[in-house]
């Protein structure tokens, strides 16, 4: 699969360049993880003495644990909302037979490029007039707008690849549209739906901007608390939290990969 024949100096240079670039991408994360095991509050790298004290300071303080639980709650609700809305929208886009499909698809994924600051600002005005600012509800709704396009893109891609003949067979054997949808179409794209849900969870759990604009003393998520802390001081607890958030991201990626593999195997046998 080599474009320019055998190993060449150019190819070697390309590998070295890319290795450095990937080091640039990965290094900050590794530095934070290693720093999080410091025994002193000075963010030494590499740590001279190792301890878990910053993890202890995270788990033992309501200042951190409460926002974390709130973030988890909001992320779960966002995940459910975004997955249901996104899957339904993807089915409509791919299977629906109408003209404006392209335009609607474009519209439905457009929140990806609309600056989140602007969306957050719009929601800030809207929610302040309905007095739902600084509530978990406001954050769930805002996060759902951001997460739904990802679900749509992933599920729509899977639907385009999936074999439609099973669905048509079910219909011709007398299943109505909804039965065919529930028993044939959705199971055929289950891995994509689950991946979309996992990413929706992660997007909400890590989301900062909407949380800053719409949250307040009564609805402070973990990223909002981190944001406030970073702005005023460098608290070493942040390194422990950062490591845990990275761990969650890696776990989500592993889940997505496992779901994909589990789905691949029965197909091939």
């Amino acid at each position: 699969m080599k474009a320019n024949g055998g190993p060449s100096p150019g190819r070697a240079a390309l590998w070295i360049f890319c290795a450095l670039l990937l080091a640039f991408l990965i290094a900050p994360i590794l530095v934070i993880i290693i720093t999080s095991f410091n025994a002193t509050p000075y963010l030494e790298f590499p740590p001279r003495a190792v301890s878990l004290r910053w993890y202890g300071s995270f788990f033992s303080s309501a200042h951190w644990v409460e926002p974390t639980l709130l973030s988890a709650k909001i992320a779960v609700i966002t995940m459910i909302l975004a997955t249901v809305l996104g899957t339904a929208a993807a089915i409509g886009i791919v299977r629906g037979g109408f003209r404006a499909k392209r335009a609607i698809e474009l519209f439905l994924v457009s929140p990806v490029v609309v600056p989140i600051v602007v969306l957050a600002l719009g929601l800030y005005f809207l929610f302040s007039s309905y007095h739902v600012l600084d509530t978990p509800l406001a954050l769930c709704l805002g996060h759902t707008v951001i997460a739904t396009p990802i679900v749509i893109v992933i599920v729509a891609a899977a639907l385009r690849l999936s074999d439609r003949s099973m669905e048509l067979a079910a219909r011709s054997l007398g299943a109505n549209f909804w039965r065919a949808l529930w028993f044939v179409t959705i199971p055929s794209v289950k891995p994509a739906v689950l991946s979309g849900a996992a990413f929706a969870f992660l997007i909400s759990f890590d989301e900062v901007v909407v949380a800053i604009f719409l949250g307040g003393p009564d609805a402070t998520t973990l990223p909002k608390r981190m944001w406030e802390t970073i702005r005023f001081e460098i608290d070493p607890t942040l390194t422990a939290i950062s490591s845990l958030l990275t761990l969650i991201a890696v776990l989500v990626l592993i889940c997505v990969e496992l779901v994909r593999r589990a789905a691949d195997v029965p197909d091939k046998t």
Partner: protein, 270 residues
């Protein structure tokens, strides 16, 4: 699909249109916020900063991302998978975590400065944070994958046999690349640049945390309007300006290159 449309209209279209209304309202219809925007030098400077930062970030991402995407697209499946993991893990790691990591690394008392001072290359800390350097490093770090994925989705569909034929017909590797592979990859270049530029224009977290007073962008200015200056009308107007720029570019290019490729990261099969 209907529920999604209804939800979008309520929580996405409606708030944005109210923003539009706010931007032209002050006890009756007015365009004073818009005129203020183009008269006041601070706002023009923020607009200039935003465009400058976004263009530079896009250029750097392209220069760095193209070789990486090329390597991933042309290498064997196993190294390809490893390379992909190394791009995906940072991509899905919280932006806040990565930005915080750069504060720890680039700060006056950070890793880079301590390392250089320990080796005696410098005797005073070099200012790497709260200026253009910090913003650029942080933003390139976050946005690089958004360049790599669209490039990759185009490149992985290029038939490498075409390049081989060019080689067998006597083209040097450089010529084969420049005249065969590069032109075929241009849709990916366009898609990646548009996506990164759009995201950079509205980027808030990294400029806010890594930039200084000299790097005020439209996004950080909106935050200032709301939280410090309490000027809602002007905040709405700045928001509309951002949306107009983004929507213009988005609509213009989505028809040119196909939206799925632009989103790219989802592993688009079409």
């Amino acid at each position: 699909m209907l529920p999604a449309l209804v939800f979008y209209v309520a929580i996405y279209v409606y708030p944005l249109s109210r923003l539009g209304a706010w931007s032209v309202y002050d006890k009756g219809f007015t365009l004073k916020f818009y005129t203020e925007l183009f008269v006041e030098s601070m706002y023009l400077k923020a607009l200039g900063n935003t465009l400058e930062i976004s263009l530079l970030v896009t250029a750097v991402c392209l220069i760095l991302g193209y070789p990486l995407a090329y390597l991933i697209a042309t290498t064997a499946p196993t190294p390809r998978r490893i390379l992909m993991v190394l791009v995906l893990v940072p991509f899905w790691t919280s932006i806040l975590v990565r930005t915080f990591a750069w504060i720890v690394i680039l700060g006056n008392n950070g890793l880079v400065n301590r390392a250089f001072m320990a080796t005696g290359i410098i005797d005073h800390p070099v200012k790497l944070l709260f200026n253009m350097v910090g913003v650029q490093v942080g933003m390139v770090h976050v946005l690089l994958p958004f360049m790599v994925f669209p490039l990759l989705s185009v490149m992985s569909r290029i038939d490498l046999n075409v390049v081989r034929i060019a080689r067998s017909l006597g083209a040097t590797p450089t010529r084969a690349f420049l005249h065969v592979f590069l032109p075929l990859s241009m849709p990916g270049v366009a898609a990646g640049c548009v996506l990164v530029f759009l995201l950079a224009i509205g980027f808030y977290v990294t400029p806010a945390l890594l930039g200084g007073p000299g790097e005020i962008t439209l996004a950080t200015l909106i935050d200032m309007m709301i939280n410090t200056l309490l000027n809602w009308g002007l905040a709405a107007t700045l928001g509309m300006l951002l949306v107009a720029v983004v929507a213009g570019i988005f609509v213009a290019f989505s028809s040119l290159m196909g939206l799925n490729r632009m989103i790219g990261a989802g592993g688009d099969p079409t």
